[in-house]
């Protein structure tokens, strides 16, 4: 028994985790060494480290099998049980969670996959590991590559010179490296081998690397500052990439991701179903377009008329040739961030004049590239030089300009057919005021200018020409009709985020996405600081224009957006409860518009203090007349209410008196919530009483009240009746118990009688026994006496015998003395022998007698024994 206590059992032996038919090699005994061997055979290997007991491993198993079935011809899938404590894997690796997915690209790795455990995402990632670099063969491919909303890094490597140009391997590795940091691969890496294609993005030398950005200047990897290593390239790209719109993909563990992002300011969360494997994402493209427009910001002008400013000192190719004075200007100019623009102060016409003509000269070499996609590529010193040259050639055209308006001119460079210049000139007072205003006006410049030029230049870019035009100057109020650059014009800047509704729809539901819709598209603006959120009308489909409107409506001063109140959809108003369940949507109707007194309980299901009051409110609701009182409650975790009706503690009890609904009263918190207190509270505040003289109406009311009273009393009577019946029941029960008890008593009485009888007989018996005992004792004593007598007699006999012997002996002696002395020895020998025996028996008898005298009371048995 005690041994069983120490019985233990080792863990069960591991078995197959994946089915043997699956494309995944299952090393369920944790043979890590074998897993390493396998790696030699395949270029791409995926390791799935699992623990057989782990729910997440089990959930991911199917997903991995799915991916394996699609990619098994190119990728080796190896699953390793990394829990089995006899296995190599467990001994060598120390994981804090399961499953862990590692990928190897030949010798590079491990690259850990940290994304969602869903087949499409995993497959996408594996494919990225398979081809970390995209080969860009033509200009159109390049445009496609750059037009993507995800940041793109392009490397230019000329392969004709040597089989593998220097730096190419490093670049390739950096692409793999970026997958380590960035599990979703939001930075894409491309490689260009054609010199002419490379020129598009002003890459001239083989081995240069280019980071494309939409709203900011694109960058070239500064080889002279940073070593050309895979880590550095990756780091550089990650640090400098543009994040106009970001995917949010919470990993499921404890994380501050949303906290950190939403604390930055109001955020627009856009939920769309996303398939990472899909070739095209039309909706995503549309949203990206809106995001780009929104962020064009101070560069909006640049984007339109490609007004750029050469003030970006970060730009590695920047070299200002302007004078100090000009620099000064460019510094004071608020839009000094344009990377590829140059401010040119024109020679003054009138030296006394305190005004200057200032021109903003910008280079745009992207006209050949699709408009709206690639607006501001990299700035090149040569180009600026060329632009300046061209500009000074045309200088005279600008001298006349003395106006408060801005005039812009576009002209093509005679160096590059892909570039053209924009010059926007205006007269400037030295007072900054006018600059400030001009800044604004610049931003207002509409798109028209750009698109028209884009088209024109696309068709006839080979012909240098000058175009003069007056830029449109709108009013200084922020236009609510244009989203372009809105993010900088408003002080309510939004950060834009995307969420995959296949994975994170729950957040949308939390924000009030309707559960009935099949289309999982949803957009909401969340302002954590103000504790409000707005929802894009769910009857509108989520497309560019509606999104734009949504953003614009948020941005304007008197926003027409209304705080969204999330409603509990699970409450069915059709269901009748004793305590009325109020929701956001029925609040007004049930509480405010109803012609009854309303007692409203604010509660939450999880709050212990609320739930334990349920029965009290049910009782109250059953007590109060339903035609003049409503007892209601609202779950405030699931139902938002207008600010004025919010409460910060739960439970809270409010009373809304009939006809004075605005004068709601709160049940005082330091009173305990019980039926009498609630009744008093209701009674005190309800508006039934009136001391005014009774009119017909009052009489009517009175009669209604009395009617109510009557029905209440009837109910009370009903209750009392049922109480009586319960009492009867209890009575019957007691009766039954009583009779049972009586029966029991009787039974006991009888038992007592029989017991008494038994007792008597027993007593008799014992008396008899006593008598026999006494008798026996008597007999014993008599016996003893007899024995004594016998003993005495025998003693006497012995004495007599001895005397006789002496007598005989003396007689014999006399006889012998008379005869000869020949035979006396023989007779003397036999005689003492006899004498000895008789003596001993005599002493024994004497001793027995003595014992008898000491123990006078002896049991029959022992005395019997003795007598026997």
């Amino acid at each position: 028994c005690s041994r069983a206590k120490d019985v233990t059992m080792p863990a069960k032996l591991p078995v197959n985790f994946f089915s043997t038919r699956s494309a995944v090699i299952d090393l369920f005994r944790g043979q890590l060494d074998y897993a390493d061997q396998l790696r030699q055979d395949s270029e791409i290997v995926l390791y799935f480290f699992y623990a057989p007991w782990c729910g997440q491993s089990i959930a991911a198993r199917g997903e991995i099998e799915h991916v394996a079935s699609r990619l098994s011809d190119q990728v080796l899938f190896v699953a390793v049980n990394c829990w089995w404590n006899q296995g190599k894997c467990r001994k060598q690796k120390h994981f804090f969670y399961f499953p862990v997915i590692h990928l190897y690209h030949q010798s590079f790795g491990p690259i850990e996959y940290k994304g969602p455990m869903s087949a499409v995402y995993i497959e996408k990632f594996v494919r990225r590991v398979m081809t970390p670099l995209l080969y860009i063969s033509s200009r159109s491919k390049l445009l496609d590559f750059l037009s993507n909303y995800e940041p793109g890094v392009v490397g230019f490597f000329e392969f004709n010179a040597s089989p593998q140009p220097p730096g190419y391997l490093t670049f390739f590795t950096s692409a793999l490296h970026s997958l380590k940091k960035d599990y979703l691969g939001t930075i894409r890496f491309g490689v260009v081998t054609d010199k002419r294609v490379a020129e598009e993005i002003s890459l001239v030398h083989s081995g240069s690397v280019y980071l494309h950005r939409h709203a900011n200047t694109s960058l070239i990897y500064p080889k002279d500052i940073m070593n050309f290593t895979a880590e550095n390239i990756c780091k550089w790209a990650l640090e400098n990439r543009e994040m106009l719109i970001r995917w949010l993909r919470p990993h499921g563990g404890k994380s501050l991701l949303l906290n950190n992002e939403l604390k930055k300011g109001p955020a627009l969360l856009i939920f769309i179903p996303y398939n990472p494997l899909a070739e095209i994402h039309p909706l995503l493209d549309e949203i990206t377009k809106v995001a780009l427009e929104y962020h064009k910001c101070n560069k909006s002008q640049a984007a339109e008329a490609d007004l750029q400013h050469a003030g970006d000192s970060d730009s590695p190719a920047f070299d200002s040739s302007v004078t100090d004075a000009q620099l000064q200007f460019s510094e004071t100019f608020p839009i000094a961030k344009y990377p590829c623009c140059n401010t040119v102060v024109l020679p003054q016409w009138h030296s006394i004049s305190r005004t200057h003509n200032v021109c903003e000269l910008c280079v745009n070499q992207t006209l050949g590239v699709k408009p709206n996609k690639v607006h501001v590529p990299h700035c090149n010193f040569l180009e600026i030089e060329a632009a300046l040259d061209s500009f000074y050639l045309q200088e005279h055209t600008f001298f006349q300009v003395i106006s408060n308006t801005i005039e812009c001119s576009n002209f093509l460079s005679f160096y590059s057919p892909f570039s053209y210049y924009t010059a926007c000139c205006r007269t400037v007072n030295r007072h900054f005021l006018s600059f400030m205003s001009s800044e604004k006006t610049i931003f207002q410049t509409p798109k028209v200018a750009f698109s028209s030029h884009g088209k024109k230049d696309n068709t006839q870019f080979s012909i240098p020409h000058i175009e003069d035009r007056n830029c449109f100057i709108p009013d200084l109020n922020i236009s609510s009709t244009n989203i372009t650059g809105l993010s900088c014009r408003t002080n309510k800047t939004l950060n834009l985020y995307l969420l995959d509704s296949n994975l994170f729809w729950i957040y949308a539901e939390r924000l009030g996405a309707s559960r009935s819709t099949h289309l999982k598209e949803f957009a909401a603006i969340v302002d954590l600081k103000e504790e409000v959120h707005y929802v894009l009308d769910q009857n509108q489909s989520l497309v560019g224009p509606t999104l734009e409107n949504f953003i614009k409506n948020f941005s304007v001063l008197y926003s027409p957006l209304k705080r969204h109140l999330v409603d509990d959809p699970s409450v069915h108003s059709a269901e009748e409860h004793v305590v009325t369940e109020v929701t956001t949507s029925t609040f007004q109707q049930t509480v405010f518009l109803s012609a009854k007194n309303v007692l409203l309980l604010y509660y939450a299901q999880w709050c212990g203090f609320c739930a334990s009051l349920n029965h009290i409110f049910i009782q109250l609701a059953r007590l109060l007349p339903p035609d003049s009182f409503t007892v209601a409650r609202i779950d405030v975790t699931r139902n938002d209410l207008p600010w004025e009706f919010m409460t910060d503690r739960l439970p809270t009890i409010l009373f809304f008196p009939h006809q004075r609904k605005e004068q709601s009263v709160k049940f005082p918190e330091d009173f305990s919530v019980n039926l009498p207190n609630l009744l008093k509270f209701v009674l005190h505040h309800s508006s039934l009483s009136s001391s005014e003289p009774c009119t017909k109406e009052c009489l009517h009311k009175e009669s209604v009240l009395q009617q109510g009273h009557i029905s209440h009393l009837e109910r009370e009577i009903q209750k009392l009746r049922s109480e009586i019946s319960a009492l009867h029941q209890a009575h019957d029960q007691l009766e039954a118990q009583l009779s049972e008890a009586r029966r029991e008593e009787q039974r006991l009485q009888q038992q007592k009688h029989t017991l008494e009888k038994q007792h008597k007989t027993l007593q008799l018996h014992s008396e008899q026994l006593q008598a026999t005992y006494d008798q026996k004792n008597q007999e014993l004593l008599e016996m003893a006496e007899k024995l004594q007598e016998l003993a005495d007699a025998s003693e006497n006999l012995l004495k007599e015998n001895a005397l006789l012997r002496i007598l005989v002996a003396s007689r014999g002696g006399k006889l012998q003395s008379k005869d000869e002395i020949e035979e006396p020895l023989q007779s003397e020998q036999t005689l003492p022998e006899d004498n000895d025996i008789s003596l001993s028996t005599a002493t024994a008898a004497l001793e027995e007698k003595r014992i008898d005298n000491i123990d006078t009371i002896e049991t029959e048995d022992s005395s019997g024994n003795r007598t026997e």
Binding site: A4, D6, V7, T8, M9, P10, A11, A51, P52, W53, G55, Q56, A59, N85, F96, G115, P116, M117, H251, G252, G253, K254, L256, L258, N259, N502, L503, F504, R510, H533, E575, E581, A604, Q605, W606, C607, G608, F609, A611, S612, N614, H615, L623, D648, R649, L650, E669, D670, S672, N674, P676, L679, F681, L683, H684, S691, L705, E716, E723, A730
Partner: protein, 554 residues
């Protein structure tokens, strides 16, 4: 876990798997171990552990009903009525007997009508199971006969406290009676149970350290702390739990104010990065940087009083430990990220699952269902044997031990099932209720808000009200209703009396208890808000799911 997995979680199928787990263990207990206290799953036999009361059967009784098995519930009730005898010469733990036996019988008593048993006319204020619970509780009363009112840890059911019994009792062994004992007092009308439980609670409160913490073990004769480690886990855990649950069950401000004071000290001294460590009770210095399996009840408790954000953050910490081992080791060294020597076992404890159930009620966060999924998979894969479910002796290699504690069926399975069964009657939010006519009047019962004792036996707060308060209030309510309909005539009556102080009769006591420290604070507190309330959730709680946590705005 990722969203994809959460999305695909089939709640109904997991619910059925939990049900199957229950019957696998339950049937083997009946077959191989009954009438012993526990099943030994590796040797397929039974043993007595905490007494000799067929403990697993008593403990599992209300789980049967929660799984919907009415007929078996009825059968077991009759078996227990005939078979269990408390007049036995057995040394029993006062604490364990209370939470498992008294608690189990009380909840079975309160659920018996729902289970279709014919109840006697006086139910819920009388009944055979209630009488059994009372009998068991009376056997424990001798332990409370100490100078301090704090009970001994062990009592002989036949002879009372053994001469030479150790006077050292753990804190939880002193402060874990109010739920069962107050229920007994309310239902039976005998105040003695509630009185001793309160006296013990107050003794602990009086003996807290200057910085507001209590230690692990105390001498019940001299009131000297023998073990001075302060924390929220083993040895202390259910004391804090019962302060909150007692406050809710009895609408008792005094208990709540005690808890809130402790809560402050706990946050100040033991909380680090959403973990709770062990500290020296007088100095507040860290003595063990350890997380204990038993501490995992804390997030659930926090959710009951509305501290859902903090609860979720701590829960997520604990969940990472589960993911590392497939269970929670008794001790987990936080800085080292590994188990502690000799404390690597996992006896299939319920605490983390319990918290997941409470938090799921509050947040509906799929992460919590994922924990449930992980628990089902782990327990089935690791500890299921032919005869039941075996305690995991060592989480590092998943070696099994020959024991299946009764809390596995009473708590672990129950909370798992409730996590996967959001429509269970236990989760009733007050939309459903029963009206019961008793000889003393009409009662509203089963309106939700069940308070689970620390062994997961649910107590209906409405029943307590039915048997005591309602009778007190009945005539007052009658008068008020009369007045209500004839208000015009007697208007002056409608003024309220002074505020009740918790339970009325305890008003004096509560002032005594909190005089030194909480006295002044309470005055200021009173003006801000009631102690018996939760804060409403902040705006960002809408987005605090799938692992996302938010830092306070202020």
């Amino acid at each position: 876990g990722s969203g994809a997995a959460a999305r695909g979680l089939d709640v109904a199928s997991y619910r059925e798997r939990v049900r199957a787990m229950f019957y696998h263990a339950y049937e083997h207990y009946l077959e191989s171990a009954f009438p012993y206290d526990e099943l030994r799953p590796l040797t397929c036999d039974g043993q007595d552990t905490w007494g000799s009361f067929s403990l697993t059967l008593i403990d599992a009784l209300d789980t049967l009903l929660i799984l919907g098995n009415v007929s078996e519930f009825q059968r077991v009730v009759s078996v227990l009525q005939e078979g269990v005898d408390f007049d036995i010469d057995v040394n029993a733990s006062v604490f364990e007997t209370n939470i498992r036996v008294v608690g189990g019988l009380l909840s079975a008593h309160l659920l018996s009508r729902k289970a279709g048993l014919e109840v006697e006319a006086g139910w819920p204020c009388s009944g055979p199971l209630l009488r059994m619970a009372e009998e068991a509780a009376r056997k424990l009363l001798p332990a409370f006969q100490t100078p301090t009112g704090m009970p001994y840890g062990t009592v002989n059911l036949l002879h009372g406290v053994n001469p030479g019994e150790t006077p050292v009792t753990c804190t939880a062994g002193i402060g874990t009676f109010i739920v069962e004992f107050a229920t007994l007092s309310h239902l039976t009308g005998d105040p003695v149970f509630e009185d001793v439980a309160r006296k013990a609670l107050k003794a602990l409160w009086k003996n807290r350290s200057d910085i507001g913490l209590v230690g692990n073990h105390i001498d019940v004769i001299t009131a000297k702390w023998v073990a001075q480690d302060a924390g929220i886990g083993a040895g202390v855990d259910s004391y804090f739990e019962y302060l909150v649950k007692g406050a809710i069950l009895l609408q008792d401000k005094e208990l709540m104010s005690m808890f809130l004071e402790y809560n402050k000290a706990i946050k100040n001294y033991t909380k680090f990065d959403d973990w709770y460590l062990w500290v020296q009770m007088y100095k507040g210095t860290v003595s063990m940087p350890v997380f204990q399996s038993l501490e995992a009840y804390w997030p659930g408790l926090q959710s009951l009083i509305g501290d859902v954000d903090n609860a979720m953050r701590t829960f997520l910490n604990y969940y990472t430990v589960w993911k590392q081992f497939g269970g929670l080791p008794e001790f987990y060294n936080i800085p080292q990220g590994y188990t502690v020597d000799k404390r690597e076992g996992y006896p299939l404890r319920p605490e983390l699952i319990e918290s997941a159930m409470y938090l799921y009620r509050a947040t509906r966060d799929p992460t919590l269902l994922e924990l449930g999924r992980d628990a089902v998979e782990s327990i089935e894969k690791i500890s299921k044997v032919d005869c039941g479910f075996a305690t995991i002796k060592d989480l590092r290699d998943h070696r099994l031990d020959n024991r299946m504690e009764s809390f596995f069926l009473a708590e672990t399975i129950k909370y798992l099932y409730l996590l996967f069964d959001p429509d269970n009657f236990i989760h009733n939010d007050g939309s459903d209720f029963d009206v019961v006519v008793t000889p003393y009047g009409e009662c509203v019962l089963n309106a939700g808000g069940y308070i689970f004792n620390t062994e997961a036996h649910p107590i209906d707060p409405a029943a307590l009200h039915c048997c005591r308060k309602r009778r007190e209030e009945q005539w007052e309510v009658e008068d008020l209703m009369r007045e209500f309909y004839s208000r015009k005539k007697t208007k002056k009556l409608t003024l309220k009396r002074a505020p009740d102080h918790g339970e009325g009769e305890n008003a004096k006591d509560s002032q005594d208890a909190s005089s030194e420290k909480a006295g002044e604070k309470r005055k200021s507190k009173k003006s801000s808000h009631s102690l018996l309330s939760c804060p409403s959730q902040s705006f960002n709680s809408k987005l605090a799911v799938l692992g996302q946590v938010f830092l306070d705005n202020t």
